[in-house]
Every structure is written in structure tokens, then in C-alpha cells.
């Protein structure tokens, strides 16, 4: 087994991976940018190395520097986490060539599946159904427009080089098409260092449902059930759950087999996720395969009792899978809420600043995978994901009640977060009911946001009264706080806020 693993990432996923490494008796090596000197992953690791300045392109994406650290620190293996270099074929190759184990699939599988257009082409050779769309990245904008018209609007523009909703655009009218393509290309270039985008048919009432797979280097491939990921805003997942309230045992069986077939078709090993779109008639289409750990992997861990990172490490070490398909069961129900540093009421604008007070929920069936600490500064350089709250219980209803309790208990003071937004979703009757689709957010946006801006008289009295008390206190002890700025006219901001809506 490996003695030392370098985690080529930051934030909550770096911490997540290191926790398992430490439990396995493996030393952990962190890398960090100048902005992250005191970030939680640095504090947690056994060793930590500075690799460059704040922008990712100068640090977390610099694989030459990361390889140098791996050699100096004598790492046996590198875990890439998700994002950054996790789906970069060049990086995987160079790591392997340096005699270091890359904890992920073979470079060839990353190349085939990591590139969405190649993946589609490859899947057309199998029995797994695929969503209609372009098979090559867009080169000629006129040709692409013609294809879009053939498929029929609305169409989706998606990044070939990465996932997570970045570089993604939905286009409803032909005249918006070319502008949307160029913006998607720019965003995709900035997020993944790869500006290629492609077009896909936009299915109606689709459910985004994905399957977790595990494959060892000896040809054993299993799936660990699905994750329902249809709660999205800005094409980015916010709340995921497992099992899905939409699919049934037969469909799970069929889709699970398709996921395993997908993995087998590209000689996959490691952990991976096969994403499907399922329409309202329960037809499913292959969407893409993510050749890495997903943000939402914990819900699968909670209902199956597996540690997916431990499995990744064991697979990379050449071991045989520790479980067989028939041993994989569904025990209870798990829900993940993503906590972003964003102002939901202001169209999810990223929020930066200092966390002045932090209270993380805990208790039975309550897990938080995060990387935050009281007093910590949230900088504008990286993804605004602060962490994920995962709640498990015996059944879906209890898991949602637990999530609501935990979200209420969660307190992050000093920056805006999606905590309240997640609460609004979880309280919404359509979400409670179960078989929601990816349109949920757009359909109920107004109701969700109304809940964020409408308050009871009791709450307003508490807010107003405490504000008064606070102003009174700071007035009387002006030397203790540095912020006794002359009482700025209270209603200017308030006006501005109303007009921002």
C-alpha cells in the first residue's frame, strides 16, 4: 500500500480525501497557493508545499510544479480530487511516466470519456442510448447553427472539457445562438483551460440521474445505485439525493447495467459516474461520464456504507474490489445540500468576506464535508463551494426532516450562503412530493425566493430590536469596535436592494 499520497486539490474535496488517507495509515501531502497558506487542507495535511500565486492557472493547474513537489516529498501516488487536473489526460500521463500512481482511471479512458464529444461517439458503438447532438466540438458556427436547427431548439451548449455547469448555455432561439456559443467558449476556456463546446438536444421534463460505478484493474465492475441530481440552478446541482424518488427497481436495474456497460466499453477502472437524462416516460439517455469522484459522492456512501475514496485508493493499489454487485444494498435515504458562498436573493452572486461566526450542524445521521473555519477569509479566487451537508435517515421523509433541522442549526455569519435557499427547496411541497424534474428551480423560483424575503412580525421585531440594541451598544463603546462608522443613511442601501431585484 502507498505510504504517501499527494492531494492535488484544495477546499472540501482535499480534506475529504486526506481524511480517508489518514484512516488508511497513509501520509498526506497538501499543495497550496499563496491565497491558501492557512486554508483547512494545509492545516490538516502532514506536509504542505507552496506551489504558486493565487490564480489557479499559476498554482493548482500548474502540473509541472505539482510533479516537482510529488518528487521532492516522495509521494507514491497523487489523488486529483474533482475539478482542476482531475480530468486532464496530460497530467495523468505525466504522473504515471514519473513512476507515481495516478489515483484515477487510465489516461485513455479519461481521454475518451472526459471529452464529451468523444464519449458520445464512443457510446454510439454500444447499446446505451445517447441524447441527440453534435459529435464534434463546434468549429464552424454556421454549420453548428444548422445542426442546432436540425435537432430543433431549445438546444444546450456544453463544455467539452469539464462539467459542473460551467460553460453551459441553453439557447431557445436561433438568433441568440452564436453569441451564446462564444460566451460558453470563453467561460469553458477560463474554467478548464479548454474552450471547446458542443450542442445537445434539450429534453423536456428531464431528470438528471447518475450512477456511481467502481471498477478494479481485474475487470470487475459494479454500480452503487443512482443519485438524483435534478435540483439545479444555473445548470449547477444544489441538492442531490439517493435513492431517486423518481425511478423504480426495474429502471434502476436497467440503468445500472447501462452504467456498467459504459465503463466496460472504455476499459475503465477506478471510481466514475455515468450521467443520464431520464424523460417523463422513463426513457433514459447517456449524457456523459465523469472520470473522477463527484461532488455529490457522499450520498452514495451513506446509503451503501462504502468509503468511495478508500475504494479508489485500493483500486489504484491494484487490489480487487472489496464488494460484489449482489452485496450492494440500499440502506435508508441520504440527501446532500451544497453550501455555496453565494447570495441566493441576488441571483446567486458569489459572496466573499470573513466568516465571523460559524456553527456547523451535527448529531445523528448528520455529516458535513467542508473546509471552513471561524475567522477564515473567503477569497474570490476559487469555486464558492464551502461544503456539503449530508443527512441520512431511515426513509426519505425523515432524511428531509433531518436536513431541515440541520440547515436551521447551520450558522455562517459574515458572508452570504445558500443555506436558506436549500431550506426553501426542502420545505417546498413539490420537492417533498418526490418526482421533481430539472425544471423545478425555474418553475418555483419565485416561491423559493419569496420565502427568502418574507418574514413574520416576530422575526422583524427580533431583527429590528437587536439592530437597535447593537447600534446603542457600539455607540456607547466606540473604542472597542473599529467599525463605528458614521451611521450611513439606512435607506440608501435598502433602496438599492429593491432596485436590484
Amino acid at each position: 500500500m502507498f505510504k504517501k499520497i499527494l492531494v492535488a486539490n484544495r477546499g472540501e474535496i482535499a480534506l475529504r480525501v486526506m481524511r480517508t488517507c489518514r484512516e488508511m495509515g497513509i501520509e498526506t501531502i497538501a499543495i497550496f497557493s499563496e491565497a491558501d497558506r492557512t486554508a483547512p487542507h494545509v492545516l490538516f495535511a502532514d506536509e504542505a508545499y507552496l506551489i504558486g500565486s493565487a490564480p489557479s492557472s499559476e498554482s493548482y493547474l500548474r502540473y509541472d510544479k505539482i510533479l516537482d513537489v510529488a518528487k521532492i516529498a516522495k509521494a507514491d501516488a497523487i489523488h486529483p480530487g474533482y475539478g482542476f487536473l482531475s480530468e486532464n489526460t496530460g497530467f495523468a500521463k505525466q504522473v504515471t511516466e514519473a513512476g507515481i500512481v495516478f489515483i484515477g482511471p487510465p489516461a485513455e479512458a479519461i481521454k475518451t470519456m472526459g471529452d464529451k464529444t468523444m464519449a458520445r461517439q464512443s457510446m454510439l458503438q454500444t447499446n446505451v442510448p445517447v441524447v441527440p447532438g453534435t459529435e464534434e466540438p463546434i468549429n464552424d458556427i454556421k454549420e453548428a447553427l444548422q445542426i442546432a436547427k436540425d435537432i430543433g431548439f431549445p438546444v444546450l451548449i456544453k463544455a467539452a472539457g469539464g462539467g459542473g455547469g460551467k460553460g453551459m448555455r441553453i439557447v431557445e432561439f436561433a438568433e441568440e445562438f452564436s453569441d451564446a456559443v462564444s460566451r460558453a467558449q470563453r467561460e469553458s476556456q477560463s474554467a478548464f483551460g479548454d474552450g471547446r463546446v458542443y450542442i445537445e438536444k434539450y429534453l423536456e421534463e428531464p431528470h438528471h440521474i447518475e450512477f456511481q460505478i467502481l471498477a478494479d484493474q481485474h475487470g470487475n465492475i459494479i454500480h452503487l445505485n443512482e443519485r438524483e441530481c435534478s435540483i439545479q440552478r444555473r445548470y449547477q446541482k444544489v441538492i442531490e439525493e439517493s435513492p431517486s424518488p423518481f425511478i423504480n427497481v426495474e429502471l434502476r436495474e436497467k440503468m445500472g447495467q447501462a452504467a456498467v456497460e459504459t465503463a466496460r466499453s472504455c476499459n475503465y477502472f477506478g471510481a466514475g459516474t455515468v450521467e443520464f437524462l431520464v424523460d417523463k416516460y422513463k426513457n433514459f439517455y447517456f449524457l456523459e461520464m465523469n472520470t473522477r469522484l463527484q461532488v455529490e459522492h457522499p450520498v452514495t456512501e451513506m446509503i451503501t456504507g462504502t468509503d468511495l475514496v478508500a475504494e479508489q485508493v485500493r483500486i489504484a493499489d491494484g487490489q480487487v474490489l472489496s464488494i460484489k454487485q449482489e452485496e450492494v444494498t440500499i440502506s435508508g435515504h441520504a440527501v446532500e445540500c451544497r453550501i455555496y458562498a453565494e447570495d441566493a436573493a441576488q441571483d446567486f452572486t458569489p459572496s466573499t468576506g470573513k466568516i465571523i461566526m460559524l456553527q456547523i450542524p451535527n448529531g445523528t445521521g448528520t455529516r458535513f464535508d467542508g473546509a471552513i473555519r471561524q475567522g477564515m477569509e473567503i477569497t474570490p479566487y476559487y469555486d464558492p463551494l464551502l461544503g456539503k451537508l449530508i443527512c441520512w435517515a431511515k426513509d426519505r421523509d425523515s432524511a428531509l426532516n433531518r436536513s431541515e433541522r440541520a440547515l436551521r442549526e447551520f450558522y455562517i455569519g459574515g458572508i452570504e450562503t445558500t443555506i436558506q435557499f436549500c431550506r426553501s427547496v426542502i420545505r417546498h411541497p413539490v420537492f417533498r412530493e418526490g418526482p421533481y424534474d430539472t425544471h423545478f428551480y425555474n418553475l418555483y423560483k419565485d416561491e423559493l425566493h419569496a420565502e427568502l424575503t418574507t418574514f413574520t412580525e416576530e422575526v422583524l421585531m427580533v431583527a429590528g430590536g437587536t439592530l437597535h440594541h447593537h447600534q446603542n451598544q457600539t455607540k456607547h463603546s466606540s473604542q472597542t469596535t473599529g467599525s463605528t462608522k458614521p451611521s450611513r443613511s439606512s435607506w440608501v442601501t435598502s433602496q438599492q436592494r429593491r432596485q436590484d431585484k
Binding site: 422583524l460 431583527a463 437597535h468
Partner: protein
Amino acid sequence: MKYEINSADQSFEVDIQIENDRLIIQTASNKLTLEAIQIHRGVYSVLLNNRSFVVGVCAGNDEKINVNGTPVFVELLDAVHLHLRELGWESMQETKAGLVCTQIPGLITRIFHKVGDEVIEGEPLFLMEAMKMENEIKAPLSGVIQKISVQEGQTVDKGTNIIEIG
């Protein structure tokens, strides 16, 4: 002392009396006792007639109060402010709302207009990249662009004035 507590479309007139850490709040229908004990700078444990709350008052933004984790917008107008409002000071301020500034630090990647352009409310003004996302900032109101204070490619801090619409 008399105050008006406002939030979105709600408004209450209250009378607040202070006794150390306690406030007696008299509303039209109710008499409430509020006790607020600071547990961290700007964070209070509040009991309102024995109902328990954790309340955060943000440093730079006193009107956004965090109640049990929920951001609550509230304005508290004392007699002086109420009088000023009667004098029409509020409407004078409204022209300032045309000043668009940044909510977070970031990189200005594109500006869609030049000084003198006419824009309509909701129309995109500029693109800003922050936290790996491209953010499109829209015009808060219709008008003519009076001033543009930055250039494309410029990195800006939070609170920087970008565009003024008149």
C-alpha cells in the same frame, strides 16, 4: 422612543424603551420583552418573550440582519429619519441608485457600452469574472451612461464604482 421597522412590504410603528440588555418593545397590539446578549462580536443570543434566536448584525451592512441563519432585510427609522423622509430627502437620494458598483472583487472582462449610450433597465452593462464564474451585471434602471470608471481587463476590489447611469 418611537421607531418605524420596515421590511419589503411590511411596516410597523413601535415604541422602544431600553433597560440595560433589555428592550421593551410596544407594538400596536403587543408588548414584547427582548433581551440581547452578545456572544461574539456582532452576534447576539436574543430572547423575545422567551422565544430564542441567534442574531448577527453584519459589520458593513447594518440593515441585513441574520436571524437564525436567515438574512432578514430590515430598516429601523428613528424620529430624525422619519422627519427627514417627510422632507423628501429619500427621493433626492434616488438618483444615486444609478451608480453601479461591484459586490465582490473580480476581473472586468467586458464592458458593453460607452459614455452617452442609452440603456434600459435589465440590459447587460458589463461582465465580471469572479470565483471562476462569469457574472453579467445588468442596469438597475433606464437612463444614459454618464461615466465609466474602469477598463476591460482591469481587476477591481469590492465596492468599486464601475458605471454611472443618469
